[in-house]
Amino acid sequence: MQRRSFLRGLGLITAASAVITPTMVMGAEAPAGPNALSIDDAIKAITGGKSVVASPKVHLKAPEIAENGAVVPVTVEIDSPMTDADHVKAIHIFATKNSNVRCADVMLTPMNGKAMFSSRVKLGSSQEVMALVETSTGEFLSASQNVKVTIGGCG
């Protein structure tokens, strides 16, 4: 029971962060139409052009085949001690082929204790889902997974 209520609580946080995102990330350099950014531009707006390294420390969990493209569960967890000196500052989730590629931006501090975020994203078609992670040391790490959205049929 405890676990369930904890998860429900987490769900609320998820919703909240998804709502606040645009103002949180884009800051000063945000162009006029943030929702029209291509995936490359959207990543650049966050990294400022710094290189992004695919890292085994970033664990992205998503289904291979979505049960429902409208609510695809995605969990991002990063191996990080979450200390003042070494922690995850932000987790960004992208649906690389949606018309709006940006799904969620979550800001973290060492107080979070654990670098983990779970939500559901809407996918318009089969595509890569990408997690982009910013660390306190100024690195950008990523993980991607292909998620298939099909109308279904059967074998």
């Binding site: 676990r3 369930r4 998860l7 429900r8 769900g11 969990k61 289904p63 291979e64 085949i65 979505a66 049960e67 429902n68 569960p73 292909n146 298939k148 099909t150 109308i151 279904g152 049929g153 059967c154 074998g155």
Partner: protein
């Protein structure tokens, strides 16, 4: 430590100590047909104390039937000729089958009609029971466990008309101990729970979890994830894996609020829990993932001794071993029982022996109790199911990657009644075979399309959407990564011809697509009929007055025709393979 066990297995395999790994599986191949006796079927080089019996995908066939294996089984180039993608001659070569033997008849399409006359029908619970009883007598009841990989409750008229109950009675009669599911779920959540209430066996699944945040079962398991059984002086942990893609392959409404998926992370947790906390001697995954998917599972999840697979209907006379995990699968339609003897010493699996036993109904005598039960279960429906609708000139079969004659007959029936431009019939792998010149019974029609959502829908689709849908379906079937395959064959199309390059990129496989003999017009709106899938959700202007059950549409068409004559010339040209059953590393046979 399971590592030393795995090491043992690898060393044993290298030295040829494990009988099944040395290239000569136990089969009844060597005998000339006339000489095959019951003894050859029963013959087994027994090992240890424990025996697991396995069946999968019997699709409610409690009576014997004819079932022809595929003559075309095409996959992405990297998977060609691997177990799960073997048929006909490549299958016979891989497993060393003698031409015209009982095994060749059961496992391949080759010479099917002639051999059908020689060997007769396959499967049937009364014949299975005789074999099961014999094995239990030999090994002792307390040492035998009977596991069922699912797709058991659906597939015949008697199953549909009793909403699965007749088949649960058959399972109780057979003595099934544990099962998982897939088509079971198409009776709907409530009915599934009711049927489980009538079932003597345990229903387990680690990969079905509540996903409705307003329900108490949110994020909770719907079924027990595993069971621990004691047999043959050993503790056996059995983890259930139901079909991971049930909610995309079948209508969502049947399982609303339940989420499926492979869930390999929790599968690994349960394997570890069984080993470390419960100290089991052997970990078995009872699976409906499909044969090729389970080979990936064995690569990704560690510490599983045996996977008893299902879903893709492969008869695999020899087990395969991947990273120390042994995988078996026992065909479909009740044609086989898999017998797996396991030798457990010092709480570890030391050795095993496997045989896929064909249920040859002319050789294994029927158990009278089973005959009586089948008669009772069929009695209320005999009049309807035994109606002779017509005759067929050629053999009507299911299976094959792109085309089969019984599917073509269903498409012909739909196009004739619905006056559509094209029709879609799903690429399920279950059905039946009716031999050339035989009567077609109503029972046969249900065997081909007896489902709980039988409506044929007629609606409008734009040319570009049709082309895109076909590419999507092709990618489900031909994806190079088994984890992205749903395990069926290509949808069968009426009124359409096309060329396909299986090895091309996703979205670029299909060319020369023609509807009604003319190149497809991507901007044109076509009238489409379809059943058994979700295509109608993509269409517009549904013609509701035409909607009717596919088995009624097919029945009426056969009655009108009296004699059906379906050409075996397919409607699909395969560009990058020379034959239907290519061998490993090749595009030909």
């Amino acid at each position: 430590m399971d590592i030393s066990r795995r090491d043992f297995m690898q060393i044993a395999a290298a030295l040829g100590l494990v009988t099944v790994s040395n290239g000569f599986a136990q089969t009844v191949s060597g005998k000339s047909p006339a000489n095959i006796s019951l003894k050859d079927l029963y013959d087994f080089d027994a090992k240890g104390k424990l025996t697991l019996l396995h069946m999968c995908d019997i699709h409610a066939h409690i009576k014997p039937l004819y079932w022809r294996e595929p003559s075309t089984l095409i996959s992405a180039p990297n998977l060609v000729g691997t177990p799960g993608f073997l048929c006909g001659e490549s299958f016979a070569k891989h497993y060393g089958l003698e031409p015209s033997s009982l095994d060749a008849y059961f496992d391949t399409h080759m010479d099917f009609e002639t051999l059908a006359k020689k060997f007769g029908k396959m499967g049937g619970i009364a014949h299975m029971k005789t074999l099961i009883d014999e094995i239990k007598r030999e090994r002792g009841d307390e040492n035998v466990l009977f596991l069922d990989s699912g797709d058991t409750w659906q597939g015949t008229g008697v199953a549909l008309k009793t909403a699965g109950e007749a088949i649960v009675k058959a399972q109780n009669y057979l003595g099934v101990d544990v099962m998982v599911g897939h088509w079971e779920f198409t009776y709907g959540k409530e009915r599934v729970q009711e049927l489980i209430g009538m079932l003597d066996a345990k229903f387990i699944s680690q990969n079905i979890v509540g996903d409705d945040p307003f329900e108490d079962e949110y994020e909770e398991l719907i079924f027990e994830p595993y069971t621990i059984e004691e047999r043959g002086d050993a503790k056996i942990g059995i983890i259930g894996q139901s079909f991971p893609f049930t909610s995309t392959a079948n209508p969502k409404e049947f399982t609303e609020g339940w989420s499926f998926g492979l869930r390999l992370d929790t599968l690994q947790e349960y394997v570890d829990e069984l080993r470390k906390e419960h100290k089991v001697d052997c970990v078995v995954v009872l699976s409906h993932d499909g044969f090729s998917v389970d080979q990936e599972v064995a690569r990704k999840v560690h510490g599983i001794d045996f996977i008893l697979s299902g879903h893709t209907h492969d008869p695999s006379p020899k087990p395969i071993t991947i990273d120390g995990t042994v995988i078996v699968i026992a065909g479909s339609h009740g044609k086989y029982i898999g017998r797996l003897d396991i030798d457990i010493k010092d709480h570890k699996v030391k050795d095993y022996e496997y045989k896929l036993i064909p249920i040859a109904s002319n050789i294994i005598p029927a158990d009278p109790e089973g005959v009586k039960l089948v008669d009772e279960l069929y009695a209320p429906f005999d009049k309807e199911l035994n109606e002779v609708l017509g005759k067929t000139k050629g053999t009507l079969y299911k299976r094959d990657t792109f085309f089969s004659t019984f599917d073509q007959l269903i498409n012909d029936a739909i196009m004739d009644e619905m006056k559509c431009d094209l029709s879609f019939t799903p690429g399920y792998r279950w059905g039946t075979t009716v031999l050339a010149g035989d009567d077609i019974l109503m029972d046969n029609v249900y065997e081909m399309c007896g489902i709980t959502y039988p409506n044929v829908y007629t609606f409008e689709l734009k040319g570009d959407r049709i082309a895109q849908l076909l590419e999507d379906i092709a990618d489900n079937v031909f994806n190079a990564n088994p984890l992205y395959q749903q395990g069926g064959d290509m949808s069968r199309l009426g009124g359409v011809t096309y060329d396909i390059t299986v090895s091309a990129k996703a979205g670029e496989r299909i060319t020369a697509l023609k509807i009604g003999g003319k190149a497809i017009d991507l901007k044109k709106t076509y009238i489409v009929s379809s059943w058994g899938g979700n295509l109608q959700n993509a269409g517009e202007n549904l013609q509701e007055e035409k909607t009717r059950a596919v088995y009624d549409v097919t029945r009426d068409y056969i009655r009108r025709k009296k004699v059906v004559d379906v050409s075996n010339k397919g409607n699909v040209r395969l560009l990058d393979y020379d034959c239907g059953c290519p061998v490993k590393g090749s595009t030909s046979c």
